[in-house]
């Protein structure tokens, strides 16, 4: 099963920088009040450039990455899940959400300080801090759970001011001014709400900067993923998870835009030029779908034993990345709008118009749009097969997954489906999944 290396490989040079950005993010959120700043909570898809207009000292915590962070800390996650269940919430609900609620109920943040005062994850042996209560909630809503998630957070925390934006206005190919305007007008109401609850004046210049950062983060991330079309792939999906997550934390943040544009993109370009592989024995290329079972990322390393690299997924490419069809008909990074912002309305219009093209929002209207994008990836990234995670922990992203499977099979791509849960380890069978991988690899021709 172990195979000889065909390509050179090396660790990403900017790896530690990515890790530091992530740790600083959770530290800043925890310490926001100490610095006189504000904390806010919302989803990874929320329009995070909007709160940025309130000042440079606003620190977010995005719900899904936080749920995943908890999931990675198996012991704490179990405690959170059981606390949420004890409070009456069903265990088939979104597992990120149950982790999040549980963390509030048991009042544990998965980070703390060591004896030297260094901020560290709890699983490294430090005492968990209490859950830092957000000052306001700024959410979006496209999945059934999004706004409802924070209704419960607000219930549990004792009425936190909350504003949610309905961004479910239809697929990218049916966008109209009326649809864009509906979202823009909500954002304008949201700004008034934010001014009221924070008692701060809104600064449009900060908003413009944040939107520009958003454009850079999302377009550059797509450009980075596009480089993974190369053989050998410069990045593997397990590493991609640690990199795309920055966009889910604060896509409108300068530190994220700068990291993608100035550190990661040049390095991945360099890897392609030099033929540096993520998996040195790359022989087979697959993609996955939906969030992985976070406590069991080792399955991606298991693939490598067969010479198989998972090059990413529509999930990792399109959750944050913005794409467009290029002149030659292939997928590439979305062109950043060439506009200068002159007023709030115009800036919000451009922001919303751009954002409503997000690939991972399209299947909420039709799973067939998602199938088309997946087949495109399978072809353009030259895949041998697809691994679909029937994810019991996220019904939003598994919406249509069975139809995606049928469409991929019709398009000639072998598919392996495995059932699990992104953040509830009790619902993932590692041994059974590995047995499925064994069989799948055999069908792809692995020896």
């Amino acid at each position: 099963m172990e195979q000889e290396a065909k390509y050179p490989t090396e660790k990403l040079k900017c790896w530690d920088e990515a890790k530091q950005i992530r740790m600083k993010y959770y530290k800043d959120y925890a310490e926001a009040h100490d610095k006189g700043g504000l904390r806010w909570a919302g989803g990874a898809w929320t329009f995070d450039a909007i709160p940025a207009g309130l000042g440079d000292d606003l620190y977010p915590i995005t719900s899904e990455p936080y749920g995943a962070t908890l999931a990675f800390d198996k012991e704490l996650s179990l405690e959170c899940m059981e606390a949420a269940e004890k409070a009456g919430y069903p265990r088939d609900l979104c597992s990120y959400m149950r982790n999040y609620w549980g963390s509030i109920i048991i009042d544990k943040y998965p980070f703390g300080y060591d004896e030297k005062g260094e901020f560290k994850p709890r699983f490294q042996g430090v005492k968990a801090l209490g859950f830092p209560k957000p000052d306001f909630i700024w959410q979006d809503h496209i999945c059934c759970s999004h706004a409802k998630w924070y209704q419960v957070v607000s219930d549990l925390e004792g009425k936190i001011p909350m504003f949610s934006v309905d961004n479910a206005v239809g697929p990218f190919n049916e966008l109209t001014d009326s649809k864009i305007k509906y979202v823009v007008e909500q954002l304008k109401d949201g700004i008034k709400f934010l001014e009221k609850v924070t008692k701060r004046d809104y600064n449009d210049e900060l908003l413009y900067k944040a939107i520009k950062n958003h454009f850079i983060s999302t377009s550059t991330w797509a450009e980075i993923c596009n480089l993974n079309k190369a053989i050998p792939a410069p990045l593997d999906e397990k590493s991609i998870y640690s990199l795309y997550v920055l966009g889910t934390l604060q896509k409108a943040g300068k530190q994220v835009a700068d990291f993608y544009e100035k550190s990661l993109l040049p390095e991945v370009n360099e890897r392609v030029k030099k033929g540096i592989a993520a998996v040195p024995n790359e022989k087979f290329r697959v993609m996955s779908d939906t969030q992985p079972p976070w406590s069991f990322l080792s399955i991606f390393r298991y693939l490598e034993k067969f010479g198989c690299v998972s090059i990413g997924s529509l999930y990792t490419f399109g959750l944050i990345g913005q794409w467009e069809v290029k002149k030659d008909g292939t997928w590439g990074a979305k062109t950043i709008p060439d506009v200068e912002f002159s007023n709030r309305d115009q800036a919000l219009y451009e922001y919303v118009k751009y954002e409503l093209h997000k690939p991972e929002w399209q299947h909420f209207y039709s799973c067939h749009l998602k199938s088309d994008m997946m087949i495109r990836i399978a072809k353009e990234w030259k895949l041998n097969g697809v691994m679909l995670h029937y994810n019991r922990g996220c019904e939003g992203l598994t919406l249509g997954i069975a139809e995606n499977r049928l469409a991929l099979l019709d398009a000639g791509f072998p598919v392996m489906a495995f059932e699990g849960n992104n953040a509830d380890e009790r619902e993932f069978d590692e041994a059974r999944t590995k047995a499925k991988i064994n069989a799948f690899m055999e069908t792809l021709g692995a020896k």
């Binding site: 504003f163 309905d166 649809k179 909500q186 019904e395 069975a402 499977r405």
Partner: protein, 376 residues
Amino acid sequence: MELIEQFKDLEKNRHKYAKEWKEKNKGKIMGYFCTYVPEEILYAGGILPVRILGSHEPQDVTEPHIFAMFCPFCRDCLAQGLKNRYEYLDGLMIAQSCLHIRQTYTSWIKHRPVEFEKFLCMPHKVQSRHSYEFLTEEYKVFKKEIENWIEKKITDKDLKNAIEVYNENRRLMKKLYELRKKDNPPITGEEVMEIVIAMQMTDKTEHNKMLKDLLRKLENHTPSREVGSRLMILGSEDDDTVFMNMVENCGATFVIDDHCTGSRYFWNEVKNGKDPLAAIAARYIDRIPCPSKDWEERKRIPHILQMCKDWKVDGVIIMQQKFCDPHELDFVAIQKALKAAGIPTLFLEFDVTVPVGQFKIRVEAFLEMIGEEDLF
């Protein structure tokens, strides 16, 4: 009761009714999912809207199409399509609501294509003042699409006529529900459920006529059955008449509900307005919300509490389709509010078929608990 049998007959023979309607009226039939579909626009175009419901039979055809942890209702509905039970449909549509039923719609149109298909972008944030204008614009586009399909212009007069037929239907249903406030309600919860289900698949003009006849008969009707505990049932889509019958044979009567196959379907009317499309949009924005749209504030809770008070409810059965996220996200808060109001609740999870025997034991225990105060 004989008149109820007519509604029952419509419900049981829904496909026969639709086929005969089509033959008789030479019109088109639109299958729809979710009660956020603006039926008035369809009716104005001479189209018969027919809500797609399941058949409560175990089935084995949806597994390749829908992930097994999606709600049993959405799978049951898709099974009806895959088994060709709705082959007479000319069109199929959905108004944006929950994800699960949307999966049914997208799978259906791929594997059982129809002449006309529509995903109508019903806004989620019905508490936003901007949702009215947005939905009106969506309706304008939808109306044009329908006109192109039926090759006929839908006039304001057509719309106003449809609104009147639908509003009359809603008024009659509310009259029927008012009768349930009586100490001895002249109609059971099961019977009302039959009427509402029939309502969702019948020409409303015809349904109005039947309702008027029924209301006349009910005015002086005093049933001999024992009322027992006065219950409310609330939760997800629910057309499980077997369950209703079982409970009402255990010494209880359902006097009110909060279901999309019940009061939520018809509770508010389209108010007069210059622009009929804007008036229809306002009706669907302002209706008693499905939990998927009930945010940021939970507006359904005060409505439920008021119903409990007005219909003198002794206890509430909270039912929900297994895996139904929007309701799962609300029931903890609802239970808490009911408890604070001193109203006992029983929570039950439904599948395509319900384990009547097991549920009976739980219902009997619940009714005993409610009745304890009378005993001591």
